[in-house]
Amino acid sequence: MKNTLFKLLALFAMASMLLTACGGATATEQAQAEQTVLRVWIQWGDNPQQIQTLFDKYTAETGIKVEVTAPLEEDKILPSLTGSEPPDVLVLSGGDLVKSYYKENLVTELSDIIKAGGIDLNDFFPAPLDQCKMGEKILCLPWGTDMYALFWNKDMFEAAGLDPETPPATMEELAEFADKLTKTDADGNLTQVGFLPDQGWGHDDLYVRMFGGFWYTDDGQHVTINSQAMIDSLAWQQQFYTKYGADKVLAFSSGWADAYMSADYPFYTGKMAMYVDGEWMTGPNFISAFKPEASYGVAPFPPPADHPERANTAVVQGTVAVIPAGAKDKDASAKLLAWMMSPAIVAEEFCFNANLPTSKKAAEDKCFTENPKFKVFTDLMASPNASYIITTPISLELNDAFGTAYERVVHNGEDPKTVMDELQAEFEPKLQEALK
């Protein structure tokens, strides 16, 4: 008995030694391969497998392995930049913090890398590229881009006696249409809403541009959040809540955001007639997937009646790529970044996701032009009134404070001027402090 046990043990020992030997060999091979592995971290990413497949093409072309990590929680971004092993390329969901990162020496200024990688800046649409510039410096490169326009439900227009093919031509008309499209029951509870200015998330950047202003001066040196344009845009949004009782509107629309990727989304179920959303809705993954029979139209958001020249105003948002300051091999990062920005790759990635390409050449690809609804957005991108979100080192903090102020004004009916004056008084000194 004992003898058998001993033999068995010996066998195990030999087997494990053999395994270790094999393991050793693989480990060395891995070490050799690891020298040429590049790491790309992408904050946004509904479909990480698809992104990995895209980057596998880079491996096929160059033999350099690329490892994709996506998506990332927002609190992983800072450690990824400050750690000793930062990714070689980092794609952020927006440009809001890039200037703050640069100030803290966390991201690389890209001029040299753009030159080394042979990246053609003229191929970028100006609006998304401008958000990456700080004076002469270029801190990031836009990759995928989003724009927003007005969506309307044609069936609901028809039922309300409106022409289903004609969207409102001015912001004032939009409010009139919304009133005709809003219905309440005997108790005054809403059963249908005409327009929600902040369905899903806020679109203040778009509305305030329509009223001719922004949160900051164009150079980003001063806060202008209590400007007349800001006050007008909030007062305009307020009416969609106060007219029907903010509490009633909030109760009616509660939980809608969670139904975003389903057939129960209020825009298809006849509960909401108009709202503002992005280009991806017109692609294969959203409306045509969840509610193919939906009858809807898309048009640029209308300007105010007394400023027709502001037609086709739109605000660009979207992902931007940065190279962490601590990236080990800047040349390798530069080559990978150049490859990511090449028209063919941009076209492939954003065709798949139905997002706007940042490259003008890629935008000529027929997948961006053959769908007339998608083309509304492509045209907006090239519009001279297309602009970007001005960012400052206090962008995130002001955004969060504005979120609360927005609720106070739009959902609680407070006076926009009073509330915005408070924000101005608090944040102008903060901005001056941060810009020092």
Binding site: L78, W201, L250, S254, G255, L396
Partner: protein
Amino acid sequence: MDELRMGGRKWNWPPKFRKWEFRERAHFKIGMLFLLPWTIGFLIFTLYPMAASFAYSFATYHPKAPLEWVGFQNYADLIKDDLFWKSLYNTLFMVVIGVPLTLLMSFFCAVLLNLKVRGQSIYRVIYFLPSIVPTVASTILWLWILNPNMGILNTVLGYIGIQGPNWMSNPVWSKPGLILLGMWGMGGTIIIYLSGLQDVPTSLLEAAELDGASWWQRLWHVTVPMVSPITLFNLITGVIAQFQYFAQAYVFRGSHGLGYPLNSTLFYSVYLYQNGFLWLKMGYASAMAWVLFIIILICTILLLRVTERFTYYAG
């Protein structure tokens, strides 16, 4: 004091040490070796971060540059920060309203679950089950339960003629909504109470019954004092947990900003996270963490002092 009473036995204090034998010394070394993994983990992952955050709290933190010492500036700024006070108020609301309410309800449930009825163990399982549901999952579930439009809670309230509130978008009702959510997952507290209830000597209860005490009198004069150490334990762990309230609030806002609606769910830890990890103000966040540490410390000491009179340790 030379004598110390412990478990009814007399101990000499301080104990007289003799020289260790070889075997004892060897055991000591082995013992230390077993302690080593924990000790290293504690030093690296607890003590060092605590010390670092203490240092950061007196500085402006730059990830890639040396700390910029600012003395007590971060602490002084906290006093002037409205959101800091708002977040402290929100947190105290959960502590002062949520904890006693949860204790009361879980004690009540434990008493019911302790009744000798058919299917007792099934009831116990049902009440305990929610506490093993992960926080994020249970919070998302409650987002639907509390939905003012199609949620089950307001629907049921509607049947009895009550128009339920906007639990998620009305700043008055968001915290009560979160307290409800917390009470749903109080299975852990119930279990601790249940074990305490089983330690209440039946002889005492029978004696009280023979003396003509009603069910309520037995509960109030025998059971409640006998489980008072359990109440104290649940109270202190509950208070600490509420002071650190984070995950539910983080998920509960849905697609809105942190603190939605109107900063009514901006709890202390949420605001700390926002400062440190989203606004890159790690020094400020560290100061907040130390202020919270001191608040919890003071609260715990106060609770122990105040409850001394009401807590009865048998044996």
